[in-house]
Amino acid sequence: MMRRIALTLVIVMLACGAKPAAAERLVVSLSNHRVAITSSFVGEDLVLFGTIEPDAGKTALRSAYDLVVTVTGPRQTLRTRRKQRVLGIWVNVDSREFVRVPSYLAILSNRPVAQITQQDTLRRLQIGLDNFLLPQRIGPDLADTVRDDPFRLAFVRLEIQQALYSEIGSAVTFLTPTVFRTAIPLPADVPTGNYTIDVKLFADGVMVARTNSALEVTKAGFEQYVADAARDHGLLYGLATMLMALLTGWIASVVFKRD
């Protein structure tokens, strides 16, 4: 049902926002639009399938395509801090705030993005971790810095370490020249919320078609309940935890009562 709605959505979006120059059409489908994180969740690979179709009897399909899939998680604001030795001990001395950046970012393509198209196109379309806009708060303004800014490098490196950011130049496989599949790697601690999936098709370094899809990650069961309670009802949650502690202590004193 969900899949059908999503598919219809994709088609509707394509119909409305189709690029006039495009001779190709992208149709994609996701194995699962709603990922539920339960206590046993250890990460999951979501499979995205798609086909390239000629647009209503136009020119024949070309022989070689390139495909880039960009998956973006819900936005969040983070602070990256740098330690420095002060009087012999390591102290956080400097920090940068990254404002409304994706909590999850995966760039999946059939070959390294630098080989797909020109640098200025990559930059304009925000393809690749180097080219994705990661705005930092600089004084009163928000701006992305140069690619080799030490804080930006450190931020991206730490996010890659946590498997939240990734750029995989071999993640998209063409099963036939016009049918492709890719796996979106979701780590165990994947952030919850709405994800957008942006699929871009290139031929000879030029974007010829583009479509998008969506995905929702939710927590399920006990975990969800506990996480929600901790955030929304801090005081009640604290009182409940305290009562739990007293109960545990009391049970222990009863169970282990001597003589």
Binding site: A154, G238, T248
Partner: protein
């Protein structure tokens, strides 16, 4: 947070064993252990508070049944302890916003544990040496009156048979509450010596009284941390509690078989070692100079 349940349960058991053996809450061991296995210091401090509340409640019940507990003194300490805890939670929140919380927690541990551990080692080694020379192992009690007894607002605590000024009682209560909230420790290993040396509380009531205080400060620290910082992890806390209370029962049995000064020497060494471990973590260059902290999502 991907932390192994069995590892945490095992740590709860081990720390519970030690805490039962020495008659302490074990927060000063539990919090560092959690930090060393990768729980963020902020969450560790906040969650351990509830773990200590559980173990001190079961201890307090025991002492209450044996009437080895001075409720009046505990309540007096507490009136200042709550203010100390609130101040501690406030400072905790402020430091966290300034990105200096982890540093502060580390520094507090180094300072407190090396000093307390060093003093305990010194005192118990002397006692052991005295015992070996055939002298009584008991520590000489200094003169019965110090300047602390000259202070105004005197109060009489019947169960403990002491007559002291309210000022040092409040000061001690405040310090314990404050330190507990910042460091995630019950403060039993600080409170017991302070009560004995400064207020001359007899050994019969000192541990029970300390447990009541620990119980209430830690229970309120749990609530305050949960309400202000949203850092208490109830699942983590529950696993720790269960491990802790079970371990404590077995530890208590071992503790009763050991000689007092030996026990204090061991505890002193343990406290000192944890302090050194924290010093090492502060001084050695971290693997990664950069770290990320979440400010807010949407």
């Amino acid at each position: 947070m991907p932390v192994n349940i069995f590892l945490v349960l095992g740590m709860g058991l081990a720390v519970g064993y030690i805490s039962g053996m020495f008659g302490i809450g074990g927060g000063f061991l539990m919090t560092p252990l959690l930090i060393f296995i990768g729980v963020s210091p902020a969450v560790a401090v906040a969650s351990v508070a509830s773990h200590i509340a559980a173990s001190s409640f079961s201890g307090a019940i025991n002492y209450w049944n044996r009437r080895a507990l001075d409720l009046a003194l505990a309540l007096m300490l507490l009136s200042a302890g709550i203010i100390g805890t609130a101040t501690g939670v406030w400072l905790f929140t402020t430091l966290r916003a300034l990105d200096q919380l982890d540093l502060m927690i580390g520094l507090s541990y180094v300072t407190l544990l090396t000093i307390v551990g060093g003093l305990m080692i010194y005192e118990s080694v002397r006692a052991v040496v005295r015992a070996r020379h055939g002298l009584p192992a008991t520590i000489r009690r200094p003169g019965s009156h110090t300047w602390l007894h000259g202070l105004p607002f005197k109060l009489r605590f019947k169960r403990s048979k002491i007559y002291v000024s309210a000022i040092p009682v409040w000061a001690i209560g405040f310090i314990i509450g404050f330190v507990g909230a910042i460091m995630g420790i019950g403060g039993g290993f600080l409170l017991v010596p302070m009560l004995i040396y400064f207020l001359r509380v007899p050994t019969a009531t000192v541990i029970g009284t300390s447990m009541v205080l620990t119980l209430i400060t830690m229970a309120s620290a749990t609530v305050m941390h949960a309400a202000t910082n949203h850092l208490v992890d109830a699942v983590l806390a529950l696993i720790l509690m269960v491990g802790g209370v079970v371990g404590a029962q077995f530890g208590a049995r071992t503790g009763q078989k050991m000689r007092g000064e030996r026990l204090r020497l061991l505890l002193g060494l343990l406290v000192f070692a944890v302090g050194l471990r924290f010093a090492y973590a502060l001084v050695v260059q971290p693997d990664d100079l950069y770290s990320i902290r979440l400010l807010g999502g949407e």
